[in-house]
Amino acid sequence: MKEDELLETLKAILLEDDRLVDKHIRSELEKIRDELLDDEKFGSRMRIHRDADVAFLKENFAQFFGNDVTTAIKHQIKNSQDEVIEALYPIIGKLISRFIRSEFEKLREGIDQQMSEVVSTKKWKRKFRSWISGTKESDLLISEQHPPSIEEILIIQKDSGLLLGSYSRNETVDQDMIAGMLTAIKAFVEDAFQKDNQDLEEIDYSSYRLLIFNFHKYYLTISVSGIIDTAFREKLSNKTFDFAEKHMNKNIIEVNSDLVSEISEKLSQTYND
């Protein structure tokens, strides 16, 4: 795979906008629906040759999505996962490879889920539920057996990647280096795909999910174990925006221990409950 293609693929994979995909799917499905529900085109055939039509639909479903982002991504997931990881592995090492692997996972899940969601809404539910077989409903069930919990928070200066403050349940790896590493990964991903207005917002690694909150001069990463539900996510962003407003509204001139311990202190006050 050429470098350009690789980056294109990654661009699609890492930075694609969920809503865009969703919208895309919706409108594609609208189109298909309109065509299928048009009696002149399909109606009678549908009724008469229902079984054949199911097959037709199944077969052509992908075709309708032939040029669709989702299909492209799915295809890429199947065909180039290893290649991409292989090519990228030496670039930023273990962390990004894990990150990409899990991005693939997440996307695969995301797409399956979106498809199923769209498919199962409103008229679609009625018209298609019986037609589109093979939809694994179990896939849609997000397990709730692991409640989410904050493991570590890092506040990192955007440009320099210097650590401004941290909160950690159990001190692990050197946070200064992690801060730099994350900043480099972020910069690499954002730069390579040249999406100026698109910041990387989530990284998965091992059993953690790293949520990234971008602010103007700094960003905040929260690593969470367990399964993040909407309520938790919402609570977390509210807290984070509050924190930013209250404690990060200063102009940072120098990164020194006074600053770092002050911010860290505030972090643990805010998130430790």
Binding site: P90, L162, D176, D191
Partner: protein, 168 residues
């Protein structure tokens, strides 16, 4: 008085001049003969004891070929100091040195740049001066990552230049 200060430093220069070896010599005090080609960037950290406080150097070991093409531009942002390395045994690594340094100066206007000629161990003492004299920009240090010669000194010099710049 604050206990420590954190600073971002980048290590730049062509491929295989010894950037990674220099930082690893400095950080872990070891040297590997194995060819480690770094693509992208490797983050290392070294705490230096200065007179009044500690300096927390976060070192971005950049992959070379050319500073101007390979690395994402944002790698240069927020940089407090630069070490630019060439290989004194390979003239192609320093033919372009002036342009590269000018580029870095323009990219990172307010950071001190230290120029390093590395792999001093490949020359006899008496050859060294002549060898170094053909480098278009005079190196601040002629180091060896292999023997460790002047490696600590170059990082310490950079550290104090960063602090000087800050207090001036």
């Amino acid at each position: 008085m604050t206990e420590f200060l954190s600073k971002k430093v980048i290590l730049a220069g062509p491929l295989a001049v010894g950037k990674t070896s220099l930082v690893q010599k400095f950080v872990y005090n070891k040297f590997s003969e194995k060819y480690i080609s770094t693509i992208g960037v490797r983050i290392e950290k070294k705490v230096i004891d200065m007179d009044s406080h500690k300096l927390n150097l976060i070192i971005w070991d950049l992959a070379g070929e050319s500073t101007q093409k390979k690395s994402p531009q944002s790698y240069f942002l927020g940089t407090n100091g630069i070490i630019y390395v060439v290989d004194i045994s390979r003239p192609p690594t320093f033919l372009n040195i002036q342009a590269e340094i000018d580029y870095l100066k323009q990219k990172v206007p307010n950071a001190p740049i230290i120029v390093i000629g590395n792999k001093a161990d490949l020359f006899k003492k008496e050859e060294l001066e002549e060898t170094v004299s053909i480098i278009p920009v005079k190196p601040d240090f002629v180091t060896s990552a292999k023997t460790g010669d002047l490696v600590n000194e170059m990082f310490e010099e950079l550290a104090s230049r960063i602090l000087d710049l800050q207090t001036s």
